[in-house]
């Protein structure tokens, strides 16, 4: 076609624009690319243990860890330990995250709330929660309460910081519009502020979730008779590096699974974010 050849010949001084490429990769390729890192790590681990560079008293190989997992799962020790530990972390997270959410909305949305809450939260935030472990034992005993409260305290602050700043960043113009349509403060908080702050709320929740697992490990150093921490303590006594590696991996899996669930929840609860187009 003559038009096509004329175009291919080009016009002096003109160039073809280079628009950004959108969503070009096949999902399978993306998945493969994402898998490269973890697969390399696993291979290196296997190679190091199989070649004898890492002996079993230092770190057991992945094949030993898998075998140990099957054994412990079959005799019921692992499901029980997981149940106890995940319950602790979960209860602590719920406690801490809801406290952080409540205080964050209070401090971000109302002037009085900020004046009352913010300074003490900022001061308390400076205390490393690990330093509270012994005090909590004295106050709440060595049973579940002190463990869950410790995890709760750890989870409160990331949630608080993110929520209060997220609430403060909600579009004032939309809030003003809602007020002009007769919505009360509670209704504005529920209909406008909370949905607007959802991205920050999820950011805080994800940080809190990670921290809940860290706090779980600290809490399970206190006189435990059940849970993953208990399993690890016993494995240390017998130098069972396979069980130790397994527990370390399980902590990571718990964190990853929680994060994955939250990312899924983000998609479900914020459908308007997917619909963003530039026009």
């Amino acid at each position: 076609m003559s038009v096509a050849t004329a175009t291919e010949a080009g016009v002096e001084g003109l160039v073809a624009p280079a628009p950004p490429r959108r969503a070009g990769r096949h999902p399978a390729v993306t998945l493969a690319l994402r898998a490269i890192g973890p697969v390399l790590l696993l291979t290196a681990w296997y190679a190091a243990t199989a070649s004898g560079a890492l002996t079993k008293d230092v770190l057991a190989g992945p094949q030993d860890v898998v075998r140990t997992f099957a054994e412990l799962w079959a005799d019921g020790q692992l499901p029980e330990a997981l149940r106890v530990s995940v319950t602790r972390a979960g209860l602590g997270l719920v406690l801490g995250a809801s406290t952080g959410l409540l205080l964050g909305v209070l401090s971000g949305f109302t002037r009085l709330g900020e004046e009352l809450v913010d300074s003490s939260m900022q001061a308390l935030r400076a205390i490393p929660f690990l330093a509270l472990t012994s005090l909590f034992i004295v106050w709440f005993g060595i049973e579940e309460a002190s463990k869950i409260l410790l995890i709760g305290v750890a989870c409160t602050f990331p949630m608080y910081i993110n929520v209060s700043s997220g609430v403060r960043n909600v579009d004032r113009k939309v809030v003003e519009a809602a007020r002009s349509f007769g919505l009360g403060r509670l209704a504005i908080a529920r209909e406008v502020v909370l949905p607007g702050a959802l991205p920050s709320i999820f950011a805080g929740l994800r940080l809190s979730t990670t921290l809940s697992v860290i706090a779980l490990i600290a809490a399970e150093e206190i006189n435990v008779t059940a849970g993953l921490g208990y399993l690890m303590a016993r494995a240390t006594d017998y130098l069972r590096t396979d069980i130790l590696a397994l527990c370390v991996l399980l902590y990571a899996v718990i964190g990853l699974a929680a994060d994955l669930a939250l990312r899924l929840a983000e998609r479900v609860t914020m459908p308007w974010r997917r619909a963003v187009t530039i026009r």
Binding site: V3, A4, A6, T7, E8, G10, V11, E12, G13, L14, V15, A16, P17, A18, P19, P20, R21, R22, I278, R279
Partner: protein, 236 residues
Amino acid sequence: MRLAVRARGLRKVFGARAVLDGVDLDVRRGEFLALLGASGTGKTTLLRILAGLDAADGGSVLVPPVRTVVFQEPRLVPSKRALANVIIGQGRAARAKGLAALAEVGLSSHAGAWPATLSGGEAQRVALARALVREPELLLLDEPFAALDALTRLHMQDLIAELCARHRPAVVLVTHDVEEAILLADRIAVLRGGTFVTDVRVGLDRLRDRTDPDFVELRRRLLADLGVDTHAAAAP
């Protein structure tokens, strides 16, 4: 004839609908083209393809290497002052040029202002200065006056006419305002159903008068192309 835009057989499909269906377009250097069309006829889509912001689904397009866009909203970076927004990405050496561009749009005294403190018209003038300071060979205007009040819009139209006459870039103005198109453009094209249904040269002198019979006649004709029936023209 030296060209600033050469597009052949441009296609863009959204879902099952071809918004652009084989569009051919030539714009000469220094030419002011107004693109008219009802909403959803692909005016902005075409402009975004020319700007290199979106890819076409078919066809080819050639544009100058230096081209700038003024969007419907100012799109200023809120964390940069007006002058810094104008010379964004150009380094501090461009300050003098940036100040000159701000002076051209009548905002010398606002160089240090934050975007949030500017009125809609002022912010849009900063966006215009940002587009001009790069000395574009192709200036793309995407309904730059749509969000402004009627009085500010009149001032902005005069300003654009004056600045384009001085700098002579090729201009593609997307608008749905027929009078605006006739006031400013050398040539007017109407998009409908994915192609141009009209492509006319505006044979009026500069300093156009809205009450000039030729103006009124052209306006009536363009509105008819857009599917609007004007009874006013039938009266005389």
